[in-house]
Homo-oligomer: 338 residues x 2
């Protein structure tokens, strides 16, 4: 039996992971093998989706992570059980996204740095060394135009992040590694790629358009592409991303291969190739719904991310990139039409 | 005219830097050239040495950095001028050392992480983008026995620190880089080597014995060496270390060469070579004063540090390692005997 906490569990990735855990009813946990899911706590500052909250195995908790993890959260003012009580595995996905953190420096410090510190300190306080999967990001690497960054980045590349979001991810990776070294928890930092196609509405991430320019035309709506067709991106489908998160929880210390971050495999495509795949899958009318309106701020932030990754440790764990972009579009279509 | 703050200014390195600044009466500052020293603020939780406090150019401030940098530090409880008011250049040397941080995890977070965050936030609040030289450390790199760390580490090596002290240094380097990118300050992170020969009494740094085994025998006293003779270390003399800190303040953004940390050049020696040099300089009686008493904890922490460095960016700035260990001993003798 395993008790799981997903932070940011009302978000796109967190709620997808939660649904996946509930649907399979189990989670493979490092050192313990496949475990039936006993309880799933979903914490988020946004309301937890109704279908998730309705599941009898789910405890939905809404609020600021720092507040939720303080020892005294009882509404009566008295001591209340921590949202972490009895938790075996934490998927820490809660974060403010890149665009927000560039616009509001303090928000990034609070939502990414302080909240992660609160999660780690609360895990330490449990005294049970829980397993913590930390969702880091491609943004940790930095600018692919920077001559100091190799053309292909990987697990051994020196991060040189060019956004506050990326800096905060690198910092949290280091904290996760040190808490792990001290035996306070068993941490796995996994650098996620840009997830595409994200369902739903655009978010404040600078990379949001990479989903919009596919998702909206498929639904017959117009979308804005703020960068040129030659812009590259390192992508992973939602399914590959969830698979990576679950694999991180399953991997024992030895096969995980160290305390530094593991880079998820990516499919590298240009926007032009994405749009060509869209035309192949959905016909020529779909790309015609894209308005090409350059946005220098987004272009600058996008060019601050690496586009080609070599994922040695992830590949040794059996993780692979999506085969091509058309298959990503088809997966999105199949999911939204069912 | 330049106003300088040295944090940790009562410590060995900070007080030496302060004396150097007062003796020369000037500091070369990036973009401004050599500037006469107007005011030198020395902040430390320990009392500032009397000779420094007596200098009319010195403002000595004793207390916790976090408290000192909060907007309200007046003893009357009212608003008081920040210790940073009017400061052009900060040398941020204050830190809890490696041994302390391993023994007390919370101390490291407070004294290294929170205090540095307070310095950076206070510098940002000035609104004048002051120059901040951050003393990082060789400990950032990690374990030379780790197969993931190259035999020779340098400016582009992925840090894989194996102590909380090293982790906190890497984190602060990232914060300095991001505050610099945002234009809140002009940061230079310089990874210092183990400073040897440190004068005075042993401190809680795991590397303290590297000075003790030279300093004490030269003074006719016994010293303990807790590691074997084949243990290597990457050293820099106090003079080379101060030169590096001043060079960091002098270098303009372009010649500094990026926002990531610069690695100070090091002389790599084994303990055996150090002791042989001691015998050459001070005669065979000196090494006989060393008691070889292994300490597994210190041995483990020492082996967690890299020992061979390639300092490309520092060399381009004109910085070089000490030529040999005998010259380091002779420098120490000349200073303690004058």
């Amino acid at each position: 039996m395993v008790n799981v906490l997903v932070t940011g569990g009302a978000g796109f990735l967190g709620s997808r992971l939660a649904r996946d855990l509930l649907a399979t009813g189990s989670l493979e946990v490092a050192g313990s093998g496949a475990q039936p899911l006993d309880r799933l706590t979903i914490a988020d500052q946004a309301p937890v989706p109704a279908d998730l909250a309705a599941d009898p195995r789910v405890t939905a908790v809404q609020g600021d992570l720092g507040d939720l993890l303080s020892p005294r959260t009882g509404s009566s003012g008295g001591p209340a059980p921590s949202v972490l009580a009895g938790i075996d595995v934490v998927f820490h996905l809660a974060a403010a996204v890149s665009g927000e953190c560039e616009a509001d420096f303090g928000l990034g410090i609070r939502a990414n740095l302080r909240a992660t510190e609160a999660v780690l300190a609360a895990c330490r306080a449990l005294g049970t060394s829980p397993l913590v999967v930390f969702a880091s990001s491609l943004a940790a690497f930095g600018d692919s135009r920077d001559h100091r960054l190799p053309a292909v980045v990987g697990d051994q590349t020196l991060p040189n992040p060019q956004t506050s979001y990326g800096v905060q991810k690198v910092i949290c990776e280091q904290l996760v590694a040190d808490y792990t070294r001290k035996g306070f928890l068993r941490g796995r930092s996994l650098r996620l790629m840009t997830v595409c196609v994200r369902p739903g509405r655009p978010n404040a991430a600078a990379s949001g358009f990479l989903s919009s320019i596919i998702r909206e035309p498929l639904a017959g709506e117009r979308a804005v592409c703020p960068v040129g067709p030659q812009t590259s991106a390192a992508l992973a489908s939602p399914a590959k991303t969830i698979q990576g998160l679950r694999r991180a929880a399953a991997a024992d210390d030895e096969s995980w291969g160290g305390r530094s971050a593991v880079t998820l495999p990516a499919l590298t495509v240009t926007v032009e190739e994405m749009v060509a795949a869209l035309a192949r899958v959905a016909g020529p009318k779909a790309p015609a719904l894209i308005d090409w309106i350059p946005d220098p701020a987004i272009d600058r932030m996008m060019s601050g991310w690496a586009t080609r990754v070599q994922s040695d440790r992830a590949e040794r764990l059996g993780l692979a990139p999506d085969p091509d972009f058309a298959s990503i579009i088809e997966m999105h279509l199949a999911e939204t039409q069912r």
